[in-house]
């Protein structure tokens, strides 16, 4: 009797530990598209702005997989040798570029996706041929409007002793941390090629930092409790949380910042490439680009879209704005990332 109880308990224990559910196995159909994106509010916005209209217009069915960050998605593509079970995957420039170098993502052409030629060439070329830029975000300086006064205008505000203990910085695994490191370098006399001032600045900042967090969404609870007042954050998400009533605002400091290109890609092993191209082309069309940029509060790489003034000022919506940002070669970042990560970890551990 008792042994049965113990065994039962052990089974319950094991079941409770098996928390990750397997991905659904999907049989390919000509009108069915499996799209991998992100969870949380992204999923809701995707559903309303893209999934439902596309399904109606093209008599298709989209299965949306919200799991994984961009680099986790890429890890899955690599682990499955280009066949993760998705037809379209939403990632960012670094993964799209790496995917081409590792021949795991399908190169795309203007013949497949005519709307590619409507994007700013200097933006689209950065991720071509395996990525299509569906949005542009940038690293903004997000701050608590109750506690940080006056509004900050420099990245150096992070090193202001008044804000000690109210700072979050991302962990080096995330591209946000790489950008923060580079901008710290710019703020203190260096740049991405001369990164030493950046690492020196991070070493000085470490005692002032509350937490170092890998996932940007995990930073928000600290911001909600107003425990953290300063953090680097993507403009689109900062806008979203400001809109939800958090006492925050976001700025581009005077030293500038770096933008992050969103990228749509088709894995080599995609079952329904024809519909994948159709979906990407539709997403890049003027009307959908405008709707997506408004709904997800991000910038667009397509010119000639009309946005309300507030949106135009807060997000990238013209090539002139694009050029105001630091142009950091994503390929260069890709090559340096592993070394920088090691150096960062050593600085933080010291």
């Amino acid at each position: 009797m008792n042994m049965i109880l113990v065994r039962l308990a052990a089974v319950v224990l094991v079941l409770a530990l098996l928390s990750s559910a397997p991905a659904p196995v999907v049989k390919a159909q000509s009108n069915q598209l499996v799209v991998n994106g992100f969870g949380g509010e992204y999923e809701d916005i995707f559903k309303k702005t893209l999934k439902e209209p596309f399904e109606r217009q093209f008599n298709a069915r989209i299965l949306f997989d919200p799991t994984g960050s961009a680099s986790e998605d890429y890890a899955k593509i690599r682990a499955t040798r280009g066949d993760p079970g998705w037809d379209v995957v939403v990632m960012t420039a670094p993964e799209a570029i790496l995917g081409c170098r590792e021949k795991l993502l399908q190169p795309m052409t203007e013949a497949n996706i005519p709307n590619l030629k409507q994007l700013y060439p200097e933006v689209q070329n950065a991720v071509a041929p395996c990525g299509a830029v569906q949005e542009i975000q940038y690293m903004s300086l997000m701050y608590n409007t109750n506690s940080v006064r006056p509004a900050p205008d420099s990245w150096k505000v992070f090193w202001d002793p008044r804000y000690k203990g109210h700072i979050i910085i991302p962990d080096i695994g995330s591209i946000l941390a790489v950008y923060f490191l580079i901008m710290a370098s710019y703020a203190y006399g260096g740049d991405e090629k001369n990164i030493d001032p950046g690492f020196d600045a991070i070493a000085r900042l470490k005692p002032n930092v509350t937490a170092i967090i890998l996932s940007s969404s995990a930073m928000i609870p600290y911001v909600e409790r107003e425990e953290v007042w300063l953090l680097p954050y993507w403009d689109g998400r900062a806008h979203y949380y400001r809109g939800r009533g958090l006492p925050v605002d976001f700025v581009i400091p005077k030293e500038g910042s770096i933008f992050l290109l969103g990228a749509l890609s088709v894995p080599m092993g995609a079952k329904n490439k024809a519909l994948a191209y159709k979906f990407i082309d539709w997403w890049l069309s003027a009307e959908v680009q405008r709707k997506w940029a408004m709904a997800y509060t991000v910038g667009s790489a397509r010119g000639g879209l009309s946005f309300p003034t507030e949106h135009r000022q807060a997000h990238i919506s013209s090539i002139a704005q694009v050029r105001k940002f630091k142009s950091v070669d994503p390929l260069f970042i890709g090559e340096k990332r592993s070394d920088w990560a090691e150096r960062w970890k050593k600085v933080i551990a010291r």
């Binding site: 008792n2 113990v6 308990a9 928390s19 937490a211 425990e227 592993s338 551990a349």
Partner: protein, 295 residues
């Protein structure tokens, strides 16, 4: 008696061995395909070159050399083992009295009590760990209470350091220790304890001379189970660690899923597995010798 034993054993083996193989076959095949083959792949990836962000098909031992010669990575291994040792000691010590009560109670609520011990496992490790964050952080429950009572002026750092990781892991792993200990204490015949007491041994002496030595396999099992689980734990150190806290699992995770340096991640995994295995074998032998002293 001993002679009879020797005479019996070969016959026992002859008759039962095929049956044993048949019974073992499913799990052996399962392990072979889903455990040893992937481990082989892991080992193979760990000797590939990584250059400028790409995995190159060229054999190298540079990742192992880096791990073994860089004090930073050796330090992370040491942190991991230190946390695992403390956590397994804490959970085994805390789990023993609970397991003893559960094993010996005749209460009709026994089932409920066991369910209560296991209840935390139902909520998932990530959720529970966030719960600890709310309790332990600077503006969390503990620090707020202590400050309002005037016990402390500045918050005590209970989280974003190894203290937080050890608290969180001990909670997560306590049910494992209790289950392992309970099974072993339950197997001890209570009449042995009664006999000791009849012969004049006090409760403490009975426990030290009878119960504890007989439950040694359970203590060992609980210790090793929680040791290996905490040495490989990811979620708790990732959430409660934060600033400057790095263990092997968090480092492997970052290398694998974010830096995408798979060869180095694989080498770190192989190193972690090797060290955990060696530690476990070594301490099993040590404890085996020590428990020999008891008998």
């Amino acid at each position: 008696m001993e002679e009879g034993d020797r005479a019996l054993r070969p016959a026992w083996r002859e008759r039962r061995l095929p049956a044993v193989l048949v019974l073992l076959a499913p799990s052996l095949i399962y392990l072979l395909v889903l455990f040893f083959v992937p481990l082989g792949i892991l080992a193979a990836v760990s000797v590939l070159k990584f250059h400028n962000g790409l995995i190159v098909r060229e054999l190298t031992l540079e990742h192992y050399v880096k791990f073994l010669t860089d004090p930073f990575y050796l330090g992370i291994m040491w942190n991991t083992l230190r946390v695992a040792l403390i956590v397994s000691a804490v959970t085994t010590l805390l789990g023993y009295p609970v397991a003893y009560v559960l094993a010996r109670t005749r209460s009709r609520w026994k089932g409920l009590l066991i369910a209560l011990v296991l209840a935390p496992e139902l909520s998932g490790v990530v959720l529970r760990t966030y719960g600890w964050l709310v309790i332990l952080e600077d503006r969390g429950v503990i620090n707020t209470l202590l400050r309002s009572w005037g016990v402390i002026a500045e918050p005590i750092r209970l989280v974003h350091n190894y203290t937080g990781v050890i608290i969180g892991l001990s909670h997560v792993l306590l049910p494992f220790a209790i289950l392992a200990l309970m099974a072993s204490i339950q197997a001890i015949d209570p009449t042995l304890e009664q006999a000791a007491m009849n012969l004049g041994a006090g409760r403490v002496r009975t426990f030290l001379r009878i119960t504890l030595p007989l439950s040694a396999p359970g203590v060992l099992g609980a210790f090793f189970l929680t040791f290996s689980l905490s040495a490989s734990a990811y979620a708790t150190p990732a959430i409660l660690g934060g600033k400057g806290v790095e263990v092997m699992a968090t480092m492997i995770y970052t290398q694998l899923l974010y830096i995408l340096n798979w060869p180095f991640a694989a080498a770190l995994s192989v190193a972690l597995m090797a060290v955990v295995l060696v530690t476990m074998f070594a301490s099993a032998r040590l404890v085996g010798r020590m428990s020999g002293v008891f008998q």
